[in-house]
């Protein structure tokens, strides 16, 4: 964990959830926040990430308990459906509030 910033006005930044703050994961969570569930292809298309890249970020989010991945079968083919967990939704909401607080506090 990095040292808290020296400028007191920027202190709330230290509380920002870094797992969410990384832009690829933020993009993924933003889309998962506004829909009920989505699959890999949809998220790849919306975020512009490759399967491998997306898979890495989704694993991190899953480890943190922010998302859940459910395997289902369409015919004989496996298909993964991804959705935000309760914890993930709460964490995203908290992240949004923290960011708003930080940005509102910044001088023009």
């Amino acid at each position: 964990m990095a040292e808290p910033p020296q400028d007191p006005r920027l202190h709330p930044l230290a509380d920002i959830d870094r797992l969410i703050h990384a832009s690829p994961r933020l993009m993924v969570l933003t889309y998962l926040y506004v829909v009920e569930s989505a699959d890999y292809v949809f998220l790849m298309r919306m975020t512009g990430m490759t399967w491998g890249n997306l898979s890495t970020h989704l694993s991190k989010l899953e480890e943190a308990g922010y998302i859940a991945m459910e395997k289902e079968f369409r015919g004989k083919k496996p298909h993964t459906i991804i959705h935000l967990t309760k914890e993930g939704r709460a964490a995203f909401r908290e992240y949004k509030k923290s960011m708003q607080r930080v940005l509102d506090d910044l001088p023009d």
């Binding site: 506004v34 989505a38 292809v41 399967w51 496996p78 298909h79």
Partner: protein, 211 residues
């Protein structure tokens, strides 16, 4: 980041991305084509059978569109389900469309009984208003902006048709021409969007464990 993050916009973008495949344009165009073709069929088959002929036609178009969506579009754009707010919006859309249809039917029945000798212009105007109201409400509730334009084209169609019929001697109040052109534009637009989707969204390469 050059753009403000707006969750509302993200939701709208997700919704548009899931349905912006041109297939609805094609379907609506096929429905509108009924106004262009029905007058000819009506003259040959009568009102009842000319309407009945369209049911299997719509069913076939609907099934083809569903199959295209399932086998061609979804593998390219992915699968997404929307949250409660969007579902409530779709429910509102269904109710409003039902109300518009019932209102239009009631208005038509009332006009047929009360004003048997109504002028062609008045009928065209009523028809135009119904089409404009229905399409605009649908565009607003679905966030499908192209429908505003389609609504305008649909509203103009009976009025221009009446003018062509009165001044140029076109058959069937000009419906085959005006609604034919409108349906053609909608189907063409849908085809362009669909082909563009196929070109710009190739099948993504996924590992074998994810199909």
């Amino acid at each position: 980041m050059s753009e403000r993050i707006s969750l509302k916009q993200a939701e709208r973008r997700a919704f548009t991305a899931a349905f912006e495949d041109g297939l609805w344009d094609i379907f609506i165009g096929c429905v509108v084509s009924m106004f262009a073709i029905a007058p000819f069929l009506s003259a040959r088959l009568g009102d009842f059978w000319s309407s009945a002929v369209f049911l299997p036609f719509f069913a076939a178009v609907f099934l083809v569109i569903r199959a295209l969506r399932k086998h061609v579009v979804v593998p390219r754009i992915g699968r997404v389900t929307f949250g409660a707010a969007r579902k409530a919006k779709l429910m509102r859309f269904n109710f409003v469309m039902l109300a518009v249809n019932i209102g239009a039917l009631a208005l038509g029945a009332f006009a047929a009984v009360k004003f048997r000798s109504m002028s062609g212009w008045l009928i065209a105007l009523m028809f135009a208003l119904i089409l404009l109201t229905g399409a605009s409400l649908a565009a607003y509730l679905l966030g499908f902006r192209r429908l505003y334009l389609y609504g305008l084209m649909l509203a103009v169609s009976p009025l221009v048709g009446e003018w062509v019929w009165v001044n140029k001697g076109a058959t069937h109040h000009g419906f085959p021409i005006t609604f034919g052109v409108t349906a053609g534009i909608m189907i063409f637009t849908g085809l362009v969007i669909f082909v563009r989707l196929l070109r710009h969204s190739p099948l993504p390469s996924l590992p074998s464990e994810e199909a």
